[in-house]
């Protein structure tokens, strides 16, 4: 099962990952909503939570890295370095989306045992933006995992070992 065109699938996947990471970053940065509860202005921004800041940081780094690699994908002299960097970026993307989903779940459903009320009812626009950013982040993590397996296959021709 040798893939005849080895560069094209990775290029398409990197394009998809670039789109996903950029849209995740943009959606999270532009998420902003405010509500008036008992004459107290209740503002929700991404800076309120360190998890969302971490998410934006990781996705910004990933989108910059993907952009650079899109132009470098013809040369294969740095194959091993690219594989190692791909592993690190996949790891970070996966951890950022996982943390965001955990915190987002608390925001949406609250936690009755800890006495935390859900906030999505008061700031629905913020919640929608964050949900969209998380979907994009999840797509980015998935795309990067596929890129990682493909890079490994390109380097070491996974499916034709020991023949």
């Amino acid at each position: 099962m040798i893939l005849s065109k080895r560069i094209l699938p990775i290029f398409l996947l990197r394009l998809l990952a670039l789109g996903a990471t950029v849209s995740a970053t943009v959606l999270m940065v532009t998420s902003h909503d405010s509500a008036l509860v008992f004459n107290i202005k209740f503002e929700a921004k991404y800076t309120n939570s360190p998890t969302f800041k971490y998410f934006i940081l990781i996705n910004a780094i990933a989108s910059g890295y993907t952009l650079i690699l899109l132009f470098l994908s013809c040369k294969s002299s740095f194959g091993h370095l690219i594989l190692a960097l791909d592993l690190i970026v996949t790891l970070l993307l996966e951890s950022s989306i996982s943390a965001c989903i955990a915190i987002g779940q608390v925001g949406k459903k609250g936690n009755s045992h800890a006495g935390w009320l859900p906030i999505c009812g008061q700031v629905p626009k913020f919640c929608d933006h964050v949900t969209g950013a998380m979907i994009a982040g999840f797509a980015a993590a998935l795309a990067y995992f596929l890129i990682l397996v493909y890079s490994l296959h390109n380097l070491i021709s996974l499916f034709t070992l020991n023949t």
Binding site: P50, G115, V149
Partner: protein
């Protein structure tokens, strides 16, 4: 890429089984040691968080001479992030155990052909799973410890301190396991180079 002098051309699966079950090379020994340590780390993380429970009775008010008490229970099942943490570390420890067994007795006859290429892919998936579980629990723990003033969420770690301490210990174990698993994955990929016959 020659694998060693004097080796005849045998069936690929046979050679794979022989190479994989021989522990004479240094890399194999290091891999086994790392897998044992990673197994210990993930199992301890899953167990510590799995048995994490604390009950505390606090006096809320005093009416006349009788005290009104409230019982505060903290279990790991209350938070989906910690449930995912336990499940992720459980899956990772199962994977580590399986890979340990495979590195001693070789892959089962059915999978001999695809084993050398499937193991690094499974190691990659292991990295992703453990990193997801560890970071979700870490951020949830940070939320519990510091609260979030913007969302009017109070911190809860001052009331259930030993729950938080044990949770923190489980997270540290999981992060140590994560570092070990990353090293294992890199070694596993490097080890692939000696199988490459193209």
């Amino acid at each position: 890429m020659a694998l060693g002098g004097g080796e005849t051309l045998e069936a690929g699966g046979d050679r794979a089984a022989r190479v994989m079950s021989s522990s004479s090379s240094k890399v194999d020994l290091v891999m086994v040691l790392l897998r044992v340590l990673a197994l210990l780390a993930t199992v301890s993380a899953a167990l510590i968080m799995g048995f994490n429970k604390q009950t505390r009775t606090i006096v809320v008010a005093t009416i006349g001479t009788t005290t009104v008490q409230a019982t505060l229970t903290a279990k790991f099942q209350h938070t989906p992030a910690f449930v995912f943490f336990v499940i992720a570390n459980g899956i990772a420890s199962l994977h580590n155990l399986l890979m340990l067994v495979v590195s001693f007795i070789g892959p089962p006859k059915l999978f001999e052909r695809i084993a050398p290429s499937a193991i690094p892919v499974f190691d990659l998936m292991n990295v992703a799973i453990v990193s997801g579980g560890a970071s979700a629990a870490a951020f949830m723990g940070q939320l519990g410890r510091d609260g979030n003033s913007h969302a009017r969420w109070n911190k809860i770690c001052d009331k259930i301190d030993s729950f938080c301490d044990r949770g923190g210990g489980a997270m540290i174990a999981s992060f140590i396991g994560l570092v070990l698993i990353i090293i294992i994955c890199s070694l596993s990929i490097i080890r692939l180079r000696r199988y490459n016959t193209i």
